[in-house]
Symmetry: C2
Subunit: 206 residues, 2 copies
Amino acid sequence: MEFSSKLLENAVYEMSQLPGIGKRTALRLVLHLLKQPEERTEHLTHALSKLKNEVNFCRSCHNISDTEICEICANPKRDETLVCVVEDIRDVMAIENTSQYNGLYHVLGGKISPMEGVGPQDLNIVSLINKVKEGKVKELIFALSSTMEGDTTNFYIYRQLEGMEVTTSTIARGISVGDELEYADEVTLGRSILNRVPFENSMKAN
Amino acid sequence: MEFSSKLLENAVYEMSQLPGIGKRTALRLVLHLLKQPEERTEHLTHALSKLKNEVNFCRSCHNISDTEICEICANPKRDETLVCVVEDIRDVMAIENTSQYNGLYHVLGGKISPMEGVGPQDLNIVSLINKVKEGKVKELIFALSSTMEGDTTNFYIYRQLEGMEVTTSTIARGISVGDELEYADEVTLGRSILNRVPFENSMKAN
């Protein structure tokens, strides 16, 4: 792509460094900003800089928060004996959206992935183990994605917990509500039969 | 979407104001920036602000340029009797990429669109007419998109040029090179038959 302006080229380059944004899309976005009133660009750059400079992570669960302890951890109505281990803050938002969970979270910040150079020391695992050592937590729910990296991370944490008095569980894998059996992959279908639940439970959920 | 942080919510909101970026994508982009080193965000916001504050449009053709007169207009090797009228700078880039055009451009900055509140006065039309009045331009090539708005804009300019000594043409519409006739829409196929070209010409282009 040949640019008639270095300023433009530079802006497009920086925009195209975002994930999923190619050069063409970056150009479209940058030209859109150029057409908009100046405040648009100012608000965007200001919001991004402010977030990056002032962002704070909850001291307890590592969720993004404007306060030292996030609203979820600080809420006395939530069950602090239950901790759901998730990869990132989007998972917290997804689970919160269901309104089915009343425990706390622990945001690891990623998964163990030797391929991408992410080891256990890069994740918030030590603070999780320490939290369990303090003795308040009765159950850890692993809610990582069911990939090789997710399974490795689950297993790594599981081994670290050996000898401690804590129950561990993982979220149920199965056929999505509303999905047809014939289109399900066999691994998921197999697991959903192995881990079948009493019929009464399935009625409670609705 | 419930956010655990106002800072995050604000950044996601501003990002989602860009065209084609929904809330989910905005969140993904913002969280990506949060994980990256600080310079990433700094470079992005700096490049966008700098572009917005210092952008300059060529005094002659209204293309984005770092100099008062853009490189294309300032190039003595280009044919200044030929002016290609385009909607925006992306069209200039697309035509320049073909290496088939040696004339100058005139960037209108949009199309006449009553639906979106864009009238002739919002576009760089007066300066185009003045350019023609100066007498150097022998041919105007309309290269707007072939939509109702594009056709309206072409026709508006055409009427403004009445009585002036300038040839007008539009770029050829037809079946894309490599495309099969049976899948072409009938309007395009019809036009490509009406505006057929001597066989010798088609050989020159390859």
